[in-house]
């Protein structure tokens, strides 16, 4: 066992406090009421970690021979200025982005942020490899074997996080089609590259040659890219959560290298958080994690099954019909999907809800876990439109209510309402938990046209039911007209 960093015990204590602040930050998110305090605690934790590092590393780590620490406050002004400028540049970019970003673009932003964590991990691992003495992980330039494993894993996970997140960003941002890109023999290639990375890290413990370290880095960039390109648009909520998890494990691996409790605690928290969110997303789509990773599901193109089915009879309604039906209702459940966000209809939808409430109608919102492009996305969009969060319900909390509901108003959602998931074993979405909208007395289904199908490329029986009225129009225009008719 080696000595690790020469940090004094109060610094170790400060890092522990920072770690505890991060735990409390996540704990705060158990309810919207406590969440803002939680976020502030997170900021406090980060400030503690940064200040502790600066105080312990800028003056005394200047281990210039002959310069005694006790001899004065030897802060290297140039170093301090360099660091502060670096932080200021980052802060300016970060704050501007955070202020400007539209809530619909949140998945892209999160993917972009993940890529930065991944890149930062790669850079830190690279820096530690080039100057191990500064990190206290080497004796006479020879890096301890254990540190080499930690560093190798850190750089590998960081690089995978980076390139994977870049691809996820390009797909979510529309720079790259959502269609899965399938390379022939990709499973063999991927497994080969992964085995190569692990083999090289094992070799790295015996041989500290730079080429091994940089090859591990290069291969990891490549595998992150290869892993994400075959994954289709519909699986992006899982991918974003998974990359969230990776960014945590990368931080944890670097925490092991630096023997830093704040980094280890954070890494474990973030790693488990991303893993749990991936699990929740997979369960919501009834897909196994392995099949998501294997890729190929949910492109832009629809399957052939849906095309023939559109000859079935269906009823078309107008905005006036919809307004009349909802005005008479006792309870209306609104089921929003990503299409609502694309049409930017959330604000006018909230207006419609307000109008209905004026007419004495009870209005609730039902959210499917994969309604948006990332976990909880729809909730944020509704919150942005000033929908009170106590009117918004998760699938398991509201599904039993559809049977006693007069109107289910589906807007921009499709697959998540498809009863085939419950009955048709041949359906690609069979087994996926869905919202039981068909049990409501009337279903109002806002949709652009009858031709299109959801991500899974399957037809929805709800369109053709006797109690369904299709409202074919742009979601925003339709809701605007309904609002007018409600006056």
């Amino acid at each position: 066992m080696h000595e690790g960093l020469p940090v004094n015990s109060w610094a170790a204590f400060a890092y522990l406090i920072a770690g505890a602040c991060f735990i409390l930050a996540l704990r705060g998110l158990s309810s919207p009421a406590s969440s803002q305090r939680g976020n502030r605690l997170g900021i406090v934790g980060m400030a503690i970690a940064v200040v502790t590092t600066l105080v312990t590393h800028v003056p005394p780590m200047q281990a210039v021979p002959g310069l005694d620490f006790a001899g004065g406050f030897n802060v290297d002004a140039v170093t301090v200025i360099e660091i502060l400028v670096a932080i200021a540049i980052g802060a300016a970019i970060g704050l501007t982005t955070a202020r400007k970003i539209a809530m619909t673009d949140m998945p892209q932003l999160v993917a972009a942020f993940h890529s930065l964590v991944g890149m930062a991990a790669v850079l830190v691992a690279g820096a530690a490899f080039l100057n191990p003495g500064a990190f206290g992980i080497a004796a006479d330039g020879v890096i301890f074997a254990q540190s080499r494993i930690e560093m190798g894993l850190g750089v590998a996970i960081g690089a995978i996080t980076f390139s994977g997140s870049v691809i996820a960003f390009l797909k979510l941002n529309g720079n790259m089609g959502g269609k899965p890109i399938m390379l022939p023999g990709r499973h063999v290639i991927n497994l080969g590259v992964l085995a190569g990375i692990l083999g090289l890290i094992a070799w790295f413990t015996q041989d500290q040659s730079p080429w091994i370290f940089w090859t591990v880095t290069g291969l990891s960039f490549a595998i992150g890219f290869l892993l994400i390109i075959p994954i289709g648009g519909a699986d992006m909520p899982v991918v974003v959560s998974m990359l969230n998890s990776y960014s945590g494990w990368a931080a944890a691996a670097m925490g092991f290298t630096l023997h830093n409790t704040a980094m280890i605690i954070t890494g474990a928290l973030v790693g488990s958080s991303g893993a749990i969110l991936s699990y929740i997303m997979c369960r919501a789509m009834n897909r196994s994690f392995i099949s998501v990773i294997a890729g190929g599901f949910g492109g832009d193109t629809a399957g052939g099954a849906a095309a023939a089915a559109t000859d079935r009879p269906w009823k078309r309604g107008s905005a006036e019909d919809a307004a009349f039906l909802m005005q008479q209702a006792e309870q209306v459940i609104i089921v929003p999907g990503y299409g609502m966000a694309v049409a930017q209809a959330q604000h006018v939808l909230r207006e419609m809800g307000d109008k209905l409430k004026e007419h004495g109608v009870r209005v609730k919102y039902a959210i499917h876990p994969v309604a948006g492009r990332m976990p909880g996305h729809m909730n944020v969009l509704l919150a942005e439109a000033n929908v009170p969060y106590d009117e918004v319900f998760e699938l398991e909390d509201i599904n039993s209510e559809f049977a006693q509901t007069d109107v289910a108003f589906v807007i921009g959602a499709n697959d998540v309402t498809n009863p085939a998931a419950k009955t048709d074993k041949s359906s690609p979405i069979y087994g996926m938990p869905v919202l039981d909208v068909e049990k409501a007395k009337t279903v109002l289904f806002v949709k652009r046209s009858m031709g299109g199908v959801g991500y899974a490329g399957v037809d929805n029986d709800v369109f053709y039911m006797d109690n369904t009225m299709m409202l074919l129009a742009d979601a925003k225009k339709m809701v605007e007209e309904i609002v007018k008719s409600l006056d």
């Binding site: 530690a128 931080a251 670097m254 969110l277 976990p375």
Partner: protein
């Protein structure tokens, strides 16, 4: 600190993470991702160590620049992550009575 102590902290933190994250309300899953993003940038600690180190040969200088670049990237995340989380959380309001 020896490896086993560090590993113990890590394993315990995984359990804490498991229970804490399951208690997060699904309505706040997007802010959860944004804030975990911000806190995972605690990797800035490693970046600062590299940036503050005095050069030891040619590797030291490169190491310092890699560190400074990592400080920039991690700072984008820290400031951006916490700010965007705060912005989202401020939107969640209860029914006005």
């Amino acid at each position: 600190m020896d490896f086993i102590s560090i590993l113990s902290i890590f394993v315990m933190a995984c359990f804490v993470g498991y229970y804490v994250v399951w208690s997060v309300t699904p309505a706040l899953h997007t802010p959860l991702m944004a804030v975990t993003n911000a806190i995972s940038s605690v990797i800035i600690v490693g970046a600062l160590i590299a940036a503050a180190a005095v050069g030891l040969g040619s590797g030291g200088a490169t190491s310092k620049w890699l560190g400074l670049l990592a400080v920039v990237l991690a700072s984008v995340n820290i400031f951006g992550g916490f700010a965007v989380t705060a912005r989202m959380l401020a939107m969640y309001k209860k029914k006005a009575r």
